[in-house]
């Protein structure tokens, strides 16, 4: 707790420091210099005139959007005495659990390396580089022998770790404790129940128009849809990032979604972004990484087997291989409880100059990772643009789904929220499922870890992700998971085994997400 004035000054100084030397900074300087030639800029009122010019020409809006993005990404300034690991994750036992999980992953990767005799990274010989460059747009046609490679971990391994999380200061001995909990997650994080969700998401209420409900063909479009589309056009012409985020809460029209998401995430496709993407591509060509094989395997196993996404196979390689080489992703480790894996250049002694991070972006992909990118392929067909939006979505949201932290949008909180919502509002169902050995989280976890990608039909998934962007939180994923159980409650009460419970919930492709969420949040009797 610092006093308000100092906190504000600190945040401003921090953001200004970040912008220094960025492309936006040099563009603003150049614009300010060039506008001096204009006749309406007077020497007496120079400062005000330049400011007015920047405002009118749209540059102030660009700066506003960039500041908006910084505020979303950066955690609120913590206490100055707090060490950096406290900013990443305030709870000591969670940090420890994350560290030991990471060690397990490193061991697994190292043993795979040792078994196969393949180095983690090596320079690609020139002929191979040329060959890869030639078939850059059709890497999917390659059929390398991937049978020896196995994914480093799968979501169910991660779930086991989360289930075993224990707070050393919590009294687990009480039979009837202050919070009886039937679920698998045993840490007392603060989560939002339905009354709080109603307060936080008023735009989802039954009386407010929604895309996903009120754009149904049977409903005349002038009741909601055409007005909403017009509003979307206006938001895009104003290029206002914060307005776009607010707009997205009621859904984005299909024709405007790509631009709206790029605006919310402040992801641009300027020449320097394209150049950055080309630089990453060069990194892919020059060095061959073991994680590349993991990515190939993952795409072949997951996205390639999916009816909606197999057409985008080549795009997925182009994005994910470049993603692994992108060092700007390292920034997110400042607020991620995870730490990037380290290594040393072969043949050199261990010293800081030869220490490198592996892979360059610090993210080791797991089984299903490519599903984070696949839905975006429906929106963007330019690889550099697709890449920019995916990277921003990963650095804002997706990383929270596979690291152990106490953040309200972290996977631990989402799991707990799902279980609590179910226990509080469908206790009979929860009890029944527990009795037959079908803990609800064991079924719902795989949906939440992928933010439902690959389980819902694409148009429904995009409507869900609209709200993730709109509310800047992943909680809606936990709410949807509980809502799905509520929807299929009748069938689930009939089943008598885990296998049949899984069968009831195997196919979600016919579900309409917005009515489910709306009814669960706003029509449940409490």
């Amino acid at each position: 707790m610092m006093d308000e004035g100092t906190e504000l000054s600190f945040t401003i100084a921090q953001i200004v420091q970040r912008f220094k030397g960025t492309h936006l900074h040099s563009q603003l300087e150049r614009q300010a210099k060039e506008c001096l030639h204009r006749p309406d800029i007077k020497l007496e009122s120079l400062k005000d005139d330049v400011r007015k010019f920047l405002k009118v020409s749209g540059w102030e809006r660009k700066l506003q959007n960039a500041v908006c993005r910084e505020l979303h990404i950066r955690p609120p300034p913590g206490h100055p005495a707090a060490p950096p690991e406290h900013t990443k994750e305030p709870l000591a036992y969670m940090r420890k659990a994350q560290a030991s999980w990471e060690k397990r992953i490193l061991k697994s990767l190292n043993s795979m390396c040792a078994e196969l005799g393949v180095p983690l990274a090596h320079k690609r010989p020139l002929p191979e580089q040329r060959e890869l460059s030639n078939k850059w747009n059709e890497m999917g046609t390659d059929e390398p022998d991937l049978s020896k490679f196995r994914p480093v971990y799968a979501p169910k391994d991660f779930l086991e770790v989360l289930i075993s999380l224990r707070n050393p200061n919590l009294d687990y001995s009480e039979e009837v404790s202050s919070q009886s909990h039937w679920g698998l997650i045993q840490v007392p994080l603060h989560i939002r129940d339905i009354p709080k969700m109603r307060e936080t998401c008023p735009e989802l209420t039954l009386t407010t128009g929604q895309l996903g409900i009120d754009d149904h063909p049977h409903i005349p479009s002038d009741l909601f849809e055409s007005e909403h589309v017009r509003l979307g056009k206006r938001v895009l012409s104003e290029q206002d990032s914060a307005a776009a985020q607010q707009y997205s809460r009621q859904g984005c029209p299909t024709g405007q979604r790509a631009e709206l998401w790029a605006l919310i995430l402040n992801s641009t496709n300027e020449p320097e972004d394209i150049m950055h993407y080309e630089q990453l591509k060069a990194g892919v060509l020059q060095h061959d990484l073991l994680v590349d094989n993991l990515i190939y395997k993952d795409v072949k196993l997951t996205a390639n087997n999916d009816d909606y996404y197999f057409v985008f196979e080549d795009f997925l390689y182009q994005v994910l291989l470049c993603f692994s080489r992108d060092t700007t992703v390292l920034e997110h480790f400042n607020y991620n409880s995870a730490t990037p894996p380290k290594s040393y250049i072969q043949g050199k002694e261990e010293g800081d100059e030869y220490a490198v991070i592996y892979p360059p972006n610090g993210v080791i992909p797991f089984h299903g990772f490519s599903m984070y990118v696949a839905p975006l392929c429906f929106l963007y067909n330019e690889p550099s643009r697709l890449y920019g939006v995916f990277r921003e979505m990963y650095m804002r949201y997706f990383f929270r789904l596979h690291s152990i932290s106490s953040h309200p949008s972290g996977i631990v909180s989402l799991c707990l929220q799902f279980e609590r919502l179910l226990q509080n509002h469908l206790p009979q169902l929860f009890y029944h499922l527990r009795e037959i050995g079908a803990q609800p989280l064991s079924i719902a976890f795989k949906w939440m870890v992928r933010a439902f990608s690959g389980y819902l039909s694409t148009d429904q998934l995009l409507l869900l992700w609209d709200r993730i962007l709109g509310y800047d939180s992943l909680e809606i994923v936990a709410v949807l998971a509980a809502a799905v159980f509520a929807f299929r409650a009748e069938n689930l009460m009939e089943v008598t085994s885990l296998a049949s419970a899984e069968a009831v919930l195997a196919d979600l492709s016919t579900l309409k997400v917005m009515p489910l969420i709306q009814i669960f949040v706003f029509a449940t009797v409490i």
Partner: protein, 243 residues
Amino acid sequence: MKSLSQTNFLKECHRRDKVILLKRDTMSNGPVDCVVKTPVSLQIGDTVTDTLRPGVYITDIVFPNGKPIKIQEMLFKNYYTAFLSVRLLRREDGHQDGAAAAAKWVTCVRNLPLMANPHTEAGSQDYFSLFRQQMLVEPDDVTSVRLILRQPSSAWLNFNIEEIKIYECANEDAQTGAPTWLSSLTPADEPLHLQGLPDPETVSSSIQQMWALTEVMQSNQTTASVGRFDVDGCYDINLLSYT
């Protein structure tokens, strides 16, 4: 411009974040020497045979010099304490100095919530600062500090407050015996009084101050990384390191 290697890049980013506030910290004094006594629990019933855990702890802090101090800031790390009250033992004015001076206990912080919900984790291991502006009474001539920690939830095994640091006000006061002409030379550190939204002029002038400090500290480097992940073109790696 020297390009930073990746591991240093992260450290550098974080260092620059903190440099602004660290600079502010070193301008004021370091923490005052203090002795934190063992917490004493308040319980009804027999403390030995009763299996119920205490919900209230009292911790006293004394200053070994015996010199009364003027508190500017109290900094501490929470460990599952839900509510904090702070009482100060202040030396009364108008008395002769010496051991016979009367002292009075006053409450300067009453039931400050450290955890939003005593049953859940939020705030349980966070760092907090109490500034003199937030206290109910002026923390001047303080000889002893008493912390009253409350944790009503039965969920936790223990609760405490750790890493307590107390900072004194920067300017000298007359009671330490310094000549008055000396104190009139040193400019007093006026605490900022801000209500509601801060005045933009004040904010911008304080930013300019901090800005001048950071400009002095750093050379003309940007935080934008060059983006190369290899070391001089080489990125041949065998195994990951566990340290």
